[in-house]
Structure formats: C-alpha cells, structure tokens
Symmetry: C2
Subunit: 327 residues, 2 copies
C-alpha cells in the first residue's frame, strides 16, 4: 500500500480525532518531514487537512476526485476486485485499457477508472456519454474459471452488486432491466458492458465495464436522452460523492464475484429477480433482425432470460434489446 493510502486510511480511522505526525512516521518507517510532504501533496489534490502541532493531522473533507491511493485506502484488505486500481484523467474507453492489461498478463481484480472517456462504449457498439468527473466510468478485469456461455452469470452478479451499492449510498431504490441496465423511475442510470476473450470451452479473461451517471445534471444530458436517462444527482436532488460510491460498488462487486465462484449463483439470481422489472412483464426483444414478443418468465441457471413467446414456446435469450410493453 502506498504512503498516501496509509496516511488517508489512518486519518479516516481517527474519525473526528487526529493522528500525530510522529506516529504516522513510525508506522510508515519514514521521517516526519516525508509525512509532511505527502500531506502537502494531498492538500494540493483538494483534501482539507488541518495540522495541529499538539494533536497532529485531521482530515476534514475529501475532494470529489478519483485518487487510486484513496480508493485503495477505503477498501478492506484481501479483496480480489480492487486490489490494484488505476485512475486515468481521460482515456478512449476503460474497457480497452483493461483489455490491454489483460493481454499483458495482469492478474484479475485490477480496476481501471477514467475521469472522462472520449470514446466510451455501450453494448452493441453504441457510444456511452462519459463527461469528466460527472460519473463513474470504469472496468474490472476478471479471469473466471467459466465457460463462455456461463459468463452471463457475471453480468447478473454485476447488476445486483451495482444496485445494492446505489441503494446503500443514496437510499434510492433501483430497478434492474434485463440484462444489464440499472433504472431509477424507469430511466437508465447505469449500464454494464461485458466483453470476453475465450477459447470455445473456456473464458481466458472477461472485462466488466460499468458506467454510472452520478452527478450529471439535466443540462449535461442531450435533449434526446432526457426521457431515457437520469443520474443519481437528478433523482436524489443532491450531489453524490463519487469516491464513496466507487468504493461501495467495488466491495459489492467483490462480494458477488465470490458468490459466483463459490457456486452460489442461485441466491444472486433470486436477488436479481426481486429487483428486475422485466420479469413477469410483456416484452419485445430485438436480436439482430429478429423480433420476439412474449412474457419474460424467469432467469435460468446461467443467467439467460426465459421468454414465453406468443406461441407458447419457451425461448432462452442471451442478449438483445428489450422493450417492456406498457401495461
């Protein structure tokens, strides 16, 4: 763990108390001057830190920026997801950066954040609006022991984790729209793009790209998106601190990934179904040129949607564009 992580961690653990420079210096095995130099750097990044000659350092507030060392300091140790965090000011797409890391052999669990994406991608080659410092745009590299057709389990796990973290941090009640959208009041607030590299019978690596519209205002949304998309800020009426939310999402993702690895997908699927507004509804699904209509009945053990078509047949759906019919 870096010095910044340890200093921020110690100040947070102290809560409204202070941490003495001498204690920090001893714990980290460096001089008090070195601690002072790091405190100055953190202040430049926007951290409000008071220094009292008798009591030491105290953290008053944290800026709404993504700082890898700070995110690491907020996470418990021994997580898989988030044990390595990299933050970019801007990148074309965090999924592309994560893919490059995957090819370079970086181990699973690395998370790539970007404050802005110049070419953020949604599903099926669509673009994903990713304005600077308004949202969380990040990708997680995993190397699960799964067959390609089981990868849907991880999209389901990501959706439950994301919904849980949003609920925990904002008290808003998200809905899940199959397969990978998180909605608030029927409008999209977050999405998941799962990409994988595989041989026919096993996944080599898998990248979960997540985009969360955190602090976008209505003015940040193009007019044509305003009926379809929203943000946590618009829905809750106040800005949501992104570092806290990011740390909460990574913890929930790690917990759900552990469940999938432990073969506990059933429990996740139940949690998913309870929040999923698609289940039990009449839907239209477009897959390429095909259009299917029917009732979304349930999720199967691999995370596919079971659709009862108009003709009474049960179809297993992996992907596609789902429209829920008005009732």
């Amino acid at each position: 763990m870096s010095m910044d992580s340890q200093i921020l961690g110690a100040m947070r653990r102290a809560g409204t108390g202070s941490v003495s420079g001498a204690d920090l210096a001893q714990q980290l095995g460096v001089s008090r001057a070195a601690i002072w130099a790091r405190i100055e750097e953190l202040r430049k990044l926007g951290y409000e830190i008071t220094a009292n000659p008798h009591q030491g350092y105290r953290l008053l507030s944290t800026p709404d920026v993504l700082h890898a060392d700070d995110l690491l300091a907020r996470l418990p140790e021994h997580l898989t997801i988030g044990r390595d965090i990299r933050v970019f000011e801007a990148t074309n797409s965090t999924n592309d950066v994560a893919e490059k890391l995957a090819r370079d052999g970086v181990r699973e669990g690395v998370v790539v954040f970007a404050e802005a994406q110049t070419r953020g991608r949604g599903r099926l080659g669509r673009t994903w609006l990713s304005p600077a410092r308004k949202g969380l745009w990040f990708s997680v590299l995993l190397r699960p022991d799964l067959r390609p057709q089981e990868a849907t389990q991880l999209t389901v796990a990501s959706a439950t984790a994301l919904a849980r973290a949003i609920r925990r941090q904002t008290n808003l009640i998200p809905e899940i729209k199959w397969p990978n959208d998180i909605l608030l009041g029927g409008k999209k607030v977050a999405g998941i793009l799962t990409e994988l590299s595989a041989e026919l019978d096993h996944v080599k690596y898998l990248i979960i790209g997540i985009g969360v519209d955190v602090n976008l205002t209505t003015a940040d949304l193009p007019p044509e998106l305003r009926k379809l998309a929203t943000s946590l800020r618009i829905e809750s009426g106040q800005p949501v601190p992104r570092p806290e939310l990011a740390a909460a999402i990574l913890q929930e993702l790690d917990a759900d990934y552990a469940r999938v690895r432990a073969g506990q997908f059933e429990a996740l699927a139940d949690e998913w179904e309870a929040q999923c507004t698609t289940i039990g509804r009449e839907v239209t699904i477009r897959i390429g040129d095909r259009t299917l209509r029917g009732i979304a009945e349930a999720l199967d053990s691999e995370g596919a949607l079971l659709l009862r078509t108009q003709h009474g047949r049960l179809e297993r759906i992996i992907g596609g564009d789902v429209t829920v019919e008005k009732t």
Copy 2:
C-alpha cells in the same frame, strides 16, 4: 494483386507453354525490363524459370516456401478467406498476430502464415510444435454474425474443410476427432484452435488457428509424441508440397465458411459426422476437474457433442479432452 502474383498466375495458366515478356509487360502496364527484374527476384526465392528469347518465360518448378504473392496467385478471385495473405518467417504465434490485426480493424478473411512459430499454441494453453518449413502454421481472421455459443459451428466447418483438402492433396483418408483434431491412422496430424472476442450476445471477431504437420519426419517429433502424432509425409511416404496444400485448405475453408453464413450448417455436420471416429464410440471427456463417460451420440445444430452418459442422460458438450475407449 501484386506483380509477382500476376506473373506467377500467367505462367501457371500457360502450363507447359510459355508467356512472352512483351505480353506480360503489356498486361501489367510496365516495361519488359521491370518484368525481367521480377523474374530475377523470383529465381532468387527458388522459382525455376526458363527464359527463351522467342517464346518467353516458363515456370518449371516452385520452391517449398510460403510466398504471399504466390499463394494469392493460386486462389480464385472473390474469396473471402485468403483475400489478404501475410507470411512471416517466424512469429511467436500466428493467432496472436491475427488478433492484433483484428484489434486494428483489419477486415475478415486475412490469413497469417508463419514458416516457424516460436510459441505456437494448442488448446487450453498447450504448446504446439512448429518447426520451420515443416508444416503449415496459420490463422484466419473472421467477423461472423454469430452468437458466442454458435462459434462451434466454425470449428466444425474448419475440420471438414481441412480434412477435405488433405484428402484432395494426398489421397490419405483423414478421420476427425471431436472437436478439432485431424487424425491419420489414429495419430494427430492437424489441429484447430478457435479463439474469439465477444460481447455476451455477439462475436466481435474470431480467429481460427490451424496447424498441419506436413513434412515432419519421425526424427522431427520428440520421442514422447511419436505414438500420438504423425505427419502427411510420414503417412504418405513422400514430401507434400506446402504451397499447393495451403491454397487447397484456404479454398475449402472459404467454401465451408460460405455454407455456415448461408445457414447450411446441417450439411456440414453430416459430412463431419461421416468422418468422425468419435461418434458412436465410448468416450471419456475431461472438462477441467470433471470427468464424463458415455457414448458420443451426435453433433447438435450448434456443433456441440451430445453425450449419452452412463446414467442415461444426454449432456451437451462444448469442449474438453476426449479419449476414445478401445473397443
């Protein structure tokens, strides 16, 4: 098409006849001196070409080297697979080179050959012995409109194409071992490694890596492989010209890819089953830590193997290590 392709194509079409330098110069829109210069270059590569002042150029023999222009000259026009051919003296793995081309947006159909691979890969991370100029080690980039679970169709199509081309060029009768080995007399002579990059519901690109043991002698095979592997040369008792075989394989691959795209997978599956020594046999299949035993009954419409287990259940198998039990 390059000058070399056109010159070699014209000489081959002339058969035992000759092509005049003046005609070639006119067809290609260059000087006779330019044609002469290319002929000299081809001779340096090992092409035996006679030049008769009255009749012109005649191709007597072709060296056993892979020359991209020559391979292109051997293929009919309007193929998808083989419309772009790149030959490397040596590379780590042709699948890796093809993957890089895929990421750079190169269109489908490009074929990457290497005279030698320093880190040739087989399935499941195994190494693939690829000594210089002894075999065909190559990869084909495709961008099919398929879902990931349908990709098995292309492995089946590759196996039928490969078996057909080997039969055509050598009169040997190959067997297919599910999912992707070509055998002669029960020993492996060629293998296919399919790798893909996908979103959950659609393939972005797919790479078919093919390795054919063409002219390896028994001495080229490590002792521990001699009971398991063989080559076309060992089985036929004579060297097999690699450029002809390469061109034959690419044509058959293109034909079978066209069949898959046209929805004619059923016919391919029938051809595959007729040559497949796995079907109808008692087999043991290892998938990770799992071991399944049963009778390999048939191929399903997506190219998966249907296994009737000892317990009478029908299991759908995508990959794994198959051992055919002695009967």
